[in-house]
C-alpha cells in the first residue's frame, strides 16, 4: 500500500540487531530508535509544546479514544486536525482506540464488527469498527495511525488468541480499505498472536503481504513473564521486513528500551515517565528518586548531574522535595525531567549504535543502574546474550 514515510538506516550495530535510522514523516524527520512521549488528550502533562520541542522531541502520541470523545470528530474536522488543535507542528502517532476501550471500559465486548462499548457519557451502546477508527484517525490527522486490532491480554491462552490474530488480519484489510489519506498518513499493522511463536509467524506472513508502511508488535506488556516477552519481540524482529520501522507498543522502562533496541526494535511509547512524575518520581541513570521522601530535604544536588533540563538547571532535590505532589509546577518539572531523561537515553543509544559501541554502552548502562551484577534482571541478561552481549562475562567477552 501507499506510504507517506521514508526509512533510512544510517548504521547497524555489528554485534546486536540494533540500528540507527532516520524516519521521515509528513511533519519532519524522526531519529530512531525513538521514544514517543504519550500526550493522551492532546497535551503532555502540563508541558508546553514549546518545551517539548526544546527537549528534542520529534514525535508524540495521542490517544484516539480520548480525542474521539473530546473534543470529538466534528471539532477536529472543523479546526483541521490534532496538530493544529494542540499547537504541535511536529509528528503525531495515534493508536486505534481499541486498546483503550478494552482496558478502560469493563463492559467492552468484541464482535466481528468491532469493539462494542458503553458510552462513558450516557451509557448507550456504541461500536468502534475498523472503519470508524480509520475515520477518526483521518480526522485527527496523525502522521502514523494504528490499525484497529483485536486485543487480548498476553496472559490469555487457547483458541481465543488465534481467533484474535485472524480477526486482527481481517480488520487490517478493512482498515486499509477505509483509510482515506494514505498519501499523508501512514497506517501501521499490529502483529498479534500472543506468546505463541507459530501464531506470531503466521500473523507476520499475512500482514507483510499487506505491505503497510510500518509494523508494530502488539499484545505484549500486559503482565507476561519478561523472559517470554523478549523472546516474542526477538522472534518478530527476525521475521519482519528490515526495510521498515518496527514499533513495540507500551514499552518504556529504561532497561526494556535498551534490551529491545538490541533486539531490533526502533520505536517505543509509554505513559510511565510522565505518569510517575505526578507522584514525584524522577528517573535517573542510577534509578528512580522518590523526591517526596524526607531524605531529599537537605539534598542540594540536581536530580541528575549533567542533565540540561529546566528542572536540573534551576533546582536542587531539596527544593523539588518541597513542591512535588503539592504544586502543579512540581509535577511539570519532574515530567520535563523524565521526558528529557527518556529522550536523552534514546539519543545516547543511537549515538553509540552509529559509532558502533552499543555493546559497551549496554554494559555501562546496566552497571550504572543496577550496580551489582547480581541485581541484573535475569531476563535482560538472557535477552542480551541472544544478541551476543554477555553482561555477566564482562565487557571483553562481548567485543
Amino acid at each position: 500500500m501507499k506510504s507517506a514515510l521514508t526509512w533510512d538506516v544510517l548504521a547497524k550495530c555489528s554485534t546486536t540487531k540494533a540500528r540507527a535510522a532516520v524516519l521521515t514523516l509528513p511533519h519532519g524527520p524522526v531519529n530512531a530508535p525513538v521514544f514517543m512521549p504519550v500526550g493522551t488528550q492532546g497535551t503532555l502533562k502540563g508541558i508546553t509544546p514549546e518545551q517539548i520541542e526544546g527537549l528534542g522531541c520529534q514525535i508524540m502520541l495521542n490517544n484516539t479514544y480520548h480525542l474521539g470523545l473530546r473534543p470529538g470528530q466534528e471539532l477536529l474536522d472543523q479546526c483541521g486536525g490534532a496538530h493544529v488543535f494542540q499547537g504541535w507542528n511536529r509528528n503525531l502517532l495515534t493508536d486505534s482506540g481499541g486498546f483503550q476501550m478494552v482496558s478502560l471500559l469493563k463492559l467492552a465486548e468484541i464482535t466481528e464488527d468491532g469493539v462494542q462499548f458503553e458510552s462513558p457519557h450516557d451509557g448507550s451502546l456504541m461500536l468502534l469498527t475498523p472503519e470508524h477508527s480509520m475515520s477518526l484517525q483521518n480526522s485527527i490527522g496523525a502522521d502514523i495511525m494504528m490499525q484497529l486490532d483485536d486485543v487480548v491480554s498476553s496472559l490469555t491462552t487457547g483458541p481465543r488468541v488465534e481467533e484474535a490474530m485472524w480477526r486482527s488480519i481481517r480488520w487490517l484489510d478493512r482498515c486499509i480499505k477505509a483509510h482515506k489519506k494514505p498519501e499523508t498518513q501512514n497506517l501501521f499493522a499490529i502483529i498479534q498472536g500472543g506468546l505463541d511463536p507459530n501464531l506470531r509467524k503466521v500473523c507476520i506472513d499475512e500482514m507483510v503481504k499487506r505491505d503497510t508502511p510500518g509494523y508494530a508488535i502488539g499484545g505484549l506488556s500486559g503482565g507476561e513473564e519478561k523472559d517470554k516477552f523478549w523472546r516474542v519481540v526477538s522472534q518478530c524482529t527476525d521475521l519482519m521486513p528490515r526495510n521498515k520501522p518496527i514499533y513495540c507498543m507500551g514499552v518504556g522502562y529504561a532497561e526494556d528500551l535498551v534490551v529491545c533496541v538490541a533486539l531490533g526494535v526502533d520505536m517505543f511509547d509509554c505513559v510511565f515517565p510522565t505518569r510517575t512524575a505526578r507522584f514525584g518520581n524522577a528517573l535517573t541513570s542510577k534509578g528512580t528518586l522518590s523526591l517526596r521522601q524526607a531524605k531529599f530535604k537537605d539534598d542540594f544536588r540536581p536530580i541528575e548531574e549533567g542533565c540540561d533540563c529546566i528542572a536540573c538547571k534551576s533546582y536542587t532535590r531539596a527544593y523539588l522535595y518541597t513542591v512535588v505532589t503539592k504544586e502543579t509546577v512540581g509535577c511539570h518539572l519532574i515530567s520535563i525531567h523524565n521526558t528529557a531523561y527518556q529522550l536523552r537515553l534514546m539519543r545516547q543509544i543511537r549515538e553509540s549504535v552509529i559509532e558502533d559501541r552499543f555493546p559497551q554502552f549496554i554494559h555501562k548502562f546496566f552497571k550504572d543502574l543496577f550496580v551489582e551484577k547480581s541485581a541484573y534482571p535475569e531476563w535482560a541478561v538472557n535477552a542480551l546474550k541472544s544478541v551476543n552481549v554477555d553482561l555477566m562475562g564482562g565487557e571483553e567477552a562481548s567485543k
Binding site: 488528550q41 492532546g42 497535551t43 503532555l44 502533562k45 502540563g46 508541558i47 508546553t48 509544546p49 514549546e50 518545551q51 480520548h66 473530546r70 473534543p71 471539532l75 472543523q78 479546526c79 488543535f85 494542540q86 499547537g87 478494552v102 482496558s103 478502560l104 469493563k106 462513558p120 491480554s153 500486559g222 503482565g223 510511565f272 505518569r275 510517575t276 507522584f279 518520581n281 517526596r292 530535604k297 537537605d298 542540594f300 529546566i310 534551576s314 533546582y315 536542587t316 531539596a318 527544593y319 522535595y321 518541597t322 513542591v323 505532589t325 503539592k326 504544586e327 502543579t328 509546577v329 512540581g330 509535577c331 511539570h332 518539572l333 520535563i336
Partner: protein, 562 residues
Amino acid sequence: MSPLTFSIIRQSTQLSAARRGTVVMTSSVSSSSSPLADNDATKKDKRVIETPGCFMYSVKGSVPHLTPDTLRLQGFGGVNVSIEQLLQDHQPTGLDKWPFTLSKFLNLQDLILLCDIREASSFTKVPFNSDRFVSMISNKGVRQLTLEDYLKVVRAYHPDIVGAFTDSISDTKEPGQKRVRKSVERSLKWLDQVLLERQGFDGLAQDREAEEKKKLKSRNKENQTPIVSETVASVSVSPVKRTTLPWTDVGLFAHVQGAQFEQERVRSAQETAKRTGVDGYIVDTNALPGSRDDILKMLKASMDHLPKDKPRLVYGMQAPEDVLRSIALGADLFDTTYPFLLTEDGKASLFSFGSVTAPSNTASIDSATASLQASSISSSANNRWINLWDDEHADKFVPIMEGCECYACKGGRHTRAYINHLLKAHEMLATVLLMSHNMHQYSKFFANIRQSIASGTFDQLSQQFCDQFGTEPERTGEIHEAQRIVEASLSKRNRLDSSGDASPVASDPAELEALKEARKAEKAQKAQEKKQRQMVNKKEKRSQKLKERELLEEQKMNDSKA
C-alpha cells in the same frame, strides 16, 4: 547604605497622588552574615521593578503553574514569598547549615525577592499573636514564629527585601481598639529591634532582660527568699554592643498597622515614618473590614502619613479598579494574586488600560465585542474576562485575545477551544496557558498605567477604564457547572479504579505501588488536615475567649471613664 533605591520619575500633578518610579536593587559588597550572598555568580548587579508594578505571588517561590522558563516571559521584576509557606519544609534549626541564599535556592537571582512573614494573597484566620510570637499557618498546622526565629530565618534566607517582624491582627477582622493599639506598639517595638539587629547590634537584649526579671519575680514569689542573681547581670547586655554580622544589604520594608481605626493608622504611619533605615512600607488591607470604599479610606489614612520618597507596597488591592484607586492614593507596589485567582476559575482577562496604548485598536474592540456577545449566553456577564469553562468556547478556534503577545496567544498557537478542551479533560496545561495570558495582561495593564502617569493621562484613563469595564463581580467561590461535572466524573472514575480487580491501566507493579502510596499519602494528609482544623478550632476558641475578656476590659475601662 541601603541596597535599594527608589526614584520617582514622575509625580502626578493632577488630582491624584499617583507616581511613576523605579525600585532598583543593587547587589552590594557588604559584610553580610551569609557568605554566599555575594557569590551568586548569576545574581545580576542591578535588578529593577518599574512602579507602579508588582511582585509576583508565589507559593514557596514558585509562581503557580509556571516553570522557571515560562515565568521569565511575564515581564515582572519581583517575586513575593512567605516565611509561612517556606518553613513547612525548612525549619530554623536546619537553616544554619543552609548553603544558599533564598534567591539561589528558589532560582530567582535575576529578580527582586521580597520575603514576608505571612501569605500576601488573602486573609487567613490564625490564632492570636503574643508579645513573644506571631502565629502562622503551615500545612503542618498552626505554628508560632518568635522574633528570634524570624531573625534566624532572615539571616539564612538573606532575601533582597524582607518584611519586618510585625503584629498583624489575623484572629479577627474587627479587633477592639485596645488590641489595635497593642498591635501598633508591638510592631514598632519589633521594628526597632529588627533595625538594631540588621546593623549587627543585639536587638533582643531587652527581651531577655524582661524574661529574666519575670522568672526572678515568680521564683521569688515561690521561695520567698530574695535571690541576688548573677544571671540577671550577665544577660543585661548593653544594646549597643555589636554581636552578629550586620545584614544591611537586605532591604527592609516596615508594616504599617492600625486596622480599622483611623487614628491608629495615622499614628502607626507617623511613628513608623520616624524610624531610620526603613526602605519601604507595607500596608496590608486583606484583614480590613467594610466595603471597598471603607477600606480605601483606611488605606488613605496610612498613605497620607508615609514619607513620599519611599515605595509603598499594598496587599489586598488586586482587582484592576482597586489597583487604580490605590495608585491614585500613592501606592507603588502590588502582587499578582488577581491573575492567579482568575486562572483558578478558568477565566481569561480581556481588559486593557488606556485603549490608545492597547496592542491595536481593532484588537481590543474585537475582543470587547466578542465578550459582549458572549455575555448574553455565558457566565461571564461582564467584559473584563471570559470563562473558558463555558461551552460557547468549545468551537472558538481563535486566541483568547487577538493581538496578545503572551505565550498562549502568540501567533494563534493556542485557542479558546483548546483551553476549553484542556479544562474539561482536566489537563494541567489549561492553567499554564491561562496563567501565561492573565499574568502577561496584568503586566501590560501596569505598563500602560505607568505610561499614562508619565504622560499625565492617568486620572482620565482610570475613569475611562472604570466606565468601560465596571467593577469586579464578587468572587463567590462557586464552581462552574462544567467544572463540577468534570470533577464529579473524575472522582467516580477514581473510585472505580480503586475498587475491584486491577485494571490494565495500572497493571505494572511500580505504577500500582505509586498509586497505593499516593492514596496513603492522601489519607495521611486528610488526617493531618483534620487534626489541624481541630487545632485551629481549639486555638480559635481560646482566642475568642481572650477577645471576649479584652472586650469586657475595654468596656469596663469605658464605663469607669464615663
